[in-house]
Symmetry: C3
Subunit: 382 residues, 3 copies
């Protein structure tokens, strides 16, 4: 959940002991948070019957959603106290923390295919489902919605170039049928360093030298009280630990559960993990669209997708040298490459005009449904 507005307030900072009370008031405002009860449930069940994979899968999915929401709320709270630039930096860096933690758990278990599917799936889900959903939800209430075309076009360009960057090694290897191996691994390492450098320069650009281009319109919910810094940090650290625990259970159960439920691993990684990890951001994007603040929706959807391509994916490659059985490459299976390219082109096209109506959302969601259907029906051997 990215939110670049200023939240410094004149309310005196409450003590750290108020964390529980803040969490409770948060719960009252966001009914979704009642799902938090699944967190102890899934941890308990994993101790009691670690073989109940299907149930563990559903419970961990249900538990991650409220944790992700708390996580972005806490990130925002800390960011708001850090001042504009540092806060925005933190917001941008931790914006996809849930996806990162889930992927780290999968990396730790050596499930590289699941990691890659969730990266590709997050890009596709953010550009098609989140953007399309925002257009549809907003368009059902407002006849025509305008958004800042210059900013959207810039973010789409960034996303496009980021996706290209992540795709080149896969494309080159695929079309030339180069066997994976040393080449692929060296290239992935070099690319990861390059991408993180480009991401860093992008932060410099959007937060420092040209920040006026990225100005957000204001608040979604003007009346919410900011958390104190200490509460924010405690929640941030604590919830991250819980996300890590639940993610480990999720990763451990997902394959068996998927098999039992008749879902292909590709479908689980692409669709289920991406929807679960991005649930909190989607809520924000959709309610912004209903409030006729499509600038914010488009910014969240495209910005988050770009961040995954430029930051999360290369960080995972670098981390894989220290975590898990063997280093991970940036090479994706060709179907994922095609889907990422198509999703990015669709997003570029949809955000190009600076105007949206409900049917634009339908089209984006239809492409997403086509991807989902294809992945669902894909024979598991592929």
């Amino acid at each position: 959940m990215r939110d670049f507005h200023d939240r410094r307030s004149i309310v005196p900072p409450p003590s750290a002991a108020n964390a529980a009370r803040a969490a409770l008031s948060e719960l009252r405002r966001t009914p979704l948070l009642v799902l938090i009860l699944f967190v102890p449930a899934v941890i308990l069940l994993e101790q009691v019957s670690p073989e109940a994979h299907t149930l563990l899968f559903f419970l961990s999915v249900a538990a991650i959603v409220p944790l992700a929401a708390l996580l972005s709320r806490a990130t925002e709270a800390v960011a708001a106290k850090l001042g504009d630039t540092l806060g925005a930096l933190l917001n941008a860096t931790l914006g996809n923390l849930t996806e990162l933690v889930i992927s780290l758990a999968a990396l730790h278990a050596g499930q590289h295919l699941l990691v890659k599917a969730s990266i590709a799936g997050a890009i596709v889900t953010n550009t098609l489902f989140m953007l399309g959903g925002a257009f549809l939800v907003g368009g059902l209430k407002h006849h025509l919605q305008e958004f800042n075309r210059v900013s959207a076009r810039f973010q789409a360009s960034l996303l496009f170039l980021a996706t290209i960057a992540i795709l080149v090694p896969s494309l080159i290897s695929e079309v030339d049928r180069v066997p994976a191996g040393t080449f692929s691994q060296q290239l992935s390492l070099g690319l990861s360093l390059l991408l993180i450098a480009v991401y860093g320069l992008g932060m410099l650009f959007s937060l420092k030298t040209h920040r006026e281009l990225f100005a957000s319109g204001g608040h979604v919910d003007e009346d919410e009280k900011p958390w104190p810094l200490a509460v924010g940090i405690v929640v941030l650290v604590g919830v991250t630990l819980f996300v890590a625990m639940v993610s480990e259970i999720f990763v451990g159960s997902v394959q068996v559960a998927a098999q039992r439920l008749g879902m292909t691993p590709a479908f689980v990684g692409f669709i289920v993990v991406a929807l679960v990890g991005g649930a909190a951001e989607m809520t924000t994007a959709f309610s912004a669209a209903r409030a006729n603040r499509l600038d914010l929706s488009v910014g969240i959807a495209l910005g988050s997708a770009a961040q995954i391509a430029l930051f999360v994916a290369p960080v995972l490659v670098l981390v894989s040298y220290f975590v898990g059985p063997e280093p991970m490459s940036l090479q994706f299976w060709p179907g994922a490459v095609a889907m990422m390219l198509i999703a990015t082109m669709a997003a570029t096209l949809l955000s190009n005009g600076g105007r949206a109506a409900w049917y634009a959302g339908v089209m984006a969601l239809a492409v997403y449904a086509i991807f989902g259907l294809t992945l669902f029906l894909l024979p598991p051997s592929a």
Copy 2:
């Protein structure tokens, strides 16, 4: 031939007996219609010497052109009498009736490759040949032509997303080398239902909720007299039957004729069938461009291509469960996928600026010529 303007007139409706006279006056206005004489000729010849495949091929091509022109004229006439919304709905649905009937004949003969080539060819021909031709013909008369950028961009987006939709199964299967079979057939069925639903929502959008975005500028030929409803219906049904008869002859002769003439089946399906089936629409698009009404030309070209991708292709898949030897999938050969993608991207690029000059037409036609040349030279085994 799509024409969204209001044709309700104050002229008293003539009796159905006037159909012949109306057809004759139509013939005088459109010299192309003299080709109608080939209709009895080809039907007669097929009875007399059913083995004269090359001659039957040429005669059936010559016979379909005037029938297509009459068909769109009759569709318009009926549409004009039905009132704005219902009329536009009919116009949009029957806009590619000729292509549909030819494809049904091919489907009935079990020639799935010909059906798919003609679908892909119609999309490519509409976007490159019809749009490029309109730009060239219009640009030779007018220095710079403007057209409604917002509407063109919307239609191009629609076409782009529609093409993507139709391409995904082919792309995924190709890049991952999944064997065709149950997967492909299930996916094609699901996608067809999805595409038809999206098409229906598109009608709702363009004819009901956001019709003001698609407003057409007016008439091409202001002085033509509308046909009475009965005449329109009689001509519509009668001509459709004739198109069906001639199409059956065409489909029966095309393969042998192509072989004898040294043309590859891919070339015939892609280029010949598409040009024949779209002849009537092209005439309208080109004369609209000369009359400096490029809005209409762009609308016909992109709209017709989108309709084939979103409506004709999925309908053919569904119908193939009842007609012909076995169900047809939505999987295209990879070369056709590449051409459709390129054509759609070219159309998006060309219609993006809202301005056209003759050289834009030359470029589009050059790409079309490149496709034609490639298909013409392609070894038949491919």
Copy 3:
């Protein structure tokens, strides 16, 4: 170096004997020209020790750069004396003379792979490195730079369609796995004639019927004195001969040198040759960007790339029927196809908005670096 402005002056034309003096004054203005000393050095070394491939490689690279600069200066000088239309025609035709001469030397040596790599590399280098570098260099000095969006969009469309044209045979053969051979050769011949015709019509369009769309803003260096016609022609012919001699040495040494330096042939053709051949144009494009004349930079980068696709490549195919061991086709290796497509799409995207900032340059250069890294690491067997 393309420069469409009027240079007819009122200075009386000096005698041809002044050529040396003009060259000297040129040298003082452009310090790069001191590299001209490498020209005799490399020619001498080749006589003395023809086996010193690595040294010959470096010396010939260093010698081509100043020759290319002189060549474009001479082309401009002659063009300025020939009047607007004829001069622009000459400028446009000889704009990539260095690339053409290097490629001819490679063609003569039968090194088709090197020729194709340098064609593909020139397109990629012009669109990513030259355009990106101009955006970066200009953006470090100016906060936001505007350029003529209509003209840039037109040139990007031209480039896009040109690239498509050059790619179709490779795409079709690749995806359908048609064996290269007669088909490929016939198609390449037909396409080359078609592309040259399209290029000729493009000249007619941009220099005659719609020249007002391509109007350049003015001079880069207002105070330079034009060379007399005779000096221009003498330098043009003389320098071309020297480029040919040095190119032959370069082509003869490049393969062994690359092997010794641990560079893949793909990297040399794509990156090294393209950077060397385009050095002069890059200097112009970058200094124009610093002078806040991004129109000129974008025009040089995209125009040069389009010229290579539409004119240089097909001319080389035609010439290959008379020069070298066997005719060359237009079929590229799939990795090159992917890179050209991506580069063209990135250029379209970057030039679409009509505005640039430094980060746009960083992104384009990052994609270029990714390509370079991939090619550098690619196993030579591929």
